[in-house]
Amino acid sequence: MRPDGPDTIGGAAGATGLVVVCNGRIVDPASGRDEPGDLWMRDGRIVDRPADDEARGAAVIDAVGMLVLPGLVDLHAHLCEPGYEYRETLESGALAAAAGGVTAVACMPDTDPVIDDAPTVKFVRERAAGAAARIHPIAAVTAGRRGERLTEAGELAEAGAVALSDASRTIRNPAILRRALEYGRMFDLPILVHCEDPALSAGGHMHEGSHASRLGLKGIPSIAEETVVARDLMLAEWTGGRIHVTHASTAVTVDLIRSAKQRGVRVTADASPHHLVLTDESLSTYETHLKVNPPLRSKADVEALRAGLADGTIDAVASDHTPRSVDEKNTEFQQALPGATGLETMLAVVFTELVRPGVLTLGDAVKALSTSPAGILGIEGGSLASGGSADLLLFDPDGTWTVDTASFRSRSNNSPFTGRTLEGCVSMTIVDGRVSYRRDAPESP
């Protein structure tokens, strides 16, 4: 499935197996490194600079003018396989990931069948073996995501599940979530929670506020999220279990998480790029590519999420990549399914909208996109330290590009950033020491 074989870096790598990425600026928050330098790899691992004799035989990747970053780790993506291959497959999702500089993706279990038993976890892992990015399945918390019976977390963890989540369904029965959190203490798997009280959000299509009022659309109030966040944090505190609030979208959610962290609750959280950048105001023409769940919120919510990310309350940025077909989006707003793709734009959006204006330092952005999510999932990656896996990317901070879904690797084109000009582009992605994405060189005159 890999687009480029192991020899893409050059036949020269054959002799010694050594590859050097040279003359780039190495940014690795895990080791506190931010300096010009060379990065050496061999057999899929990052290695120390070898002796001169040996070094002379290395294949060279010229990274002049580039940032060399640890590969991004996305802890929330919907890759739709098995069951919804018309939207995305593990293969196309991995290609999209690689094109966005993402080297590891945790995929949600809202597939058909649901990823809720060990054989399905293994199926996903086997299907994704050799894909352009590492795929880590997230298994359901409850069988069939029905919120009733716990899945076999022990066996799921052994099979390779990195987290548990009922994806876009809130676990309505607090007793079930309580047991899941208690039981989960044995395995250190985080439970990713989608916080939405369905009774409060019922019939809603966008954030409840002046824009929904004007458009005549029923709103999804912020409290539909916040009441569940508060409940889940209390359950995590009570049980000592590990919880991860995914796609936090409101200011009150950020406050609730901040104070829970201060009390020592084992909670982590992420926000999606679209929630960090776009507001409900942008829906003025019923643009269905901006219909997402949770909905795009107010400007004040965006500000609070950004502040939360900057002060570490929000640990990670996750794509919430949710592919939808043309027919699922090209329809009346009320009829359109929520969701936005994000793997291919995540880094450039964060760079353009948060790093360039000074909301986040580059180091903090890399931490939120790579180091922290790797830590939350307990997987390798998120670092360029010697001995670690050679998962990294070359990022050209001076490149600009206009988002055009026609050139996307994803099978779906529902990007909320279509037509935007973004700064910074992924020039090359390396997974396990092998090139899994290379940006086409601009045509020379």
Partner: protein, 318 residues
């Protein structure tokens, strides 16, 4: 100095009054005035839209709006086609974008669309390259021709729109009539007060330039126009208000309450009326009620809109 008068609309479609300027609304009202004269003739027909075809695409049931449009089209000599689909589930039928493609393929000039989903007429207009789209009501978004006929009725009865105090009473949250009236009235310089139970007032509606109050007395005091909206009784099941009885007790308009309004105040309603619920029959049938004038003006306004959007007026006027 008076602004230069428009001779043609700047918009290709009529999706909502939010997009229309004061001058465009003024042009439609003036044009409607002249069509009222046509309606009074023994032979109520002009050739303005001869050779044009208009499709009335009604995805939601409607009697008076559809009849009103059809009458307006026929009096302008357009060829009309009616499509009504009461099946609420779009998933069962053809997608709206496919419907649009079919309309395009049939060389239709103008589409009048009523749809349960807010934004559907805008979506349709984006799918069509040549046909004109007129919104005949979309979800809780807008019902621009209703808003225009209401403006015309107020102007006829009170001689002006500027400076009027208009009280909209009832279910604002689910009302496209309220939204179109708010945009139209604000643009024409009227003051708007909305009044109803807080559960039926949309969040931050003040940002549309209206005042909100929860006491009917405050809304009616010194009002020039008392506009009662139809209360959908099924909202009771959705817990927006506890009972019809309580709704009527708090918000029903009866002769005693109407005393709070200005002596010359008029009473309006978009129909159909729930008699004895939002409007007492003594009020609905009184001399202050202009509810049937609204219906008559509906035909004239729709003729004006159809005419102006289908090549009427002097588009190239300097």
């Amino acid at each position: 100095m008076a602004k230069k008068r428009l001779r043609a609309l700047r918009h290709r479609h009529l999706i909502g009054l939010e997009d229309y300027s004061r001058e465009e609304i003024g042009l439609i009202l003036d044009t409607a005035d002249s069509f009222k004269e046509v309606i009074r003739r023994p032979i109520r027909k002009v050739p303005a839209l001869r050779g044009k075809n208009v499709v009335n695409l009604f995805f939601e049931s409607s009697t008076r709006t559809r009849l009103s449009f059809e009458l307006a089209e026929k009096q302008l000599s357009a060829d009309t086609l009616n499509f009504a689909s009461t099946g609420s589930s779009v998933s069962k039928g053809e997608s709206l974008s496919d419907t649009a493609r079919n309309i395009e393929a049939m060389q239709v000039d103008c589409v009048v669309v009523r749809h349960g989903a807010a934004g559907a007429p805008l979506f349709l207009s984006q799918c069509l390259s040549s046909a004109v789209v007129i919104n005949a009501g979309d979800g809780a978004h807008e019902h621009p021709t209703q808003g225009l006929l209401d403006l015309l009725t107020m102007q006829d009865a009170l001689g002006r729109l500027e400076g009027l105090k208009v009280a909209l009473i009832g279910d604002i949250a689910h009302s496209r009539v309220a939204r179109s009236n708010i945009w139209g009235l604000r643009k024409m310089g009227a003051e708007v007060v909305v009044c109803g139970p807080p559960t039926l007032i949309p969040v931050d509606i003040e940002e549309m330039g209206v005042e909100v109050c929860y006491r009917i007395g405050d809304a009616l005091r010194d009002a020039d126009v008392v506009y009662a909206l139809r209360i959908q009784l099924e909202r009771q099941q959705e817990a927006f208000f506890p009972s019809q009885r309580e709704y009527t007790r708090l918000f029903g308009i009866d002769p005693e309450r109407l005393e709070l309004a200005k002596p010359e105040a008029i009473v309006m309603h978009p129909g159909p009326i729930n008699r004895g619920v939002e409007l007492d029959s003594r009020v609905a049938d009184s001399g202050r009620s202009v509810i049937l004038d609204q219906v008559t003006n509906g035909v004239a306004v729709r003729m004006a809109v159809l005419y102006l959007l289908n090549g009427g007026g002097e588009r190239d006027a300097a």
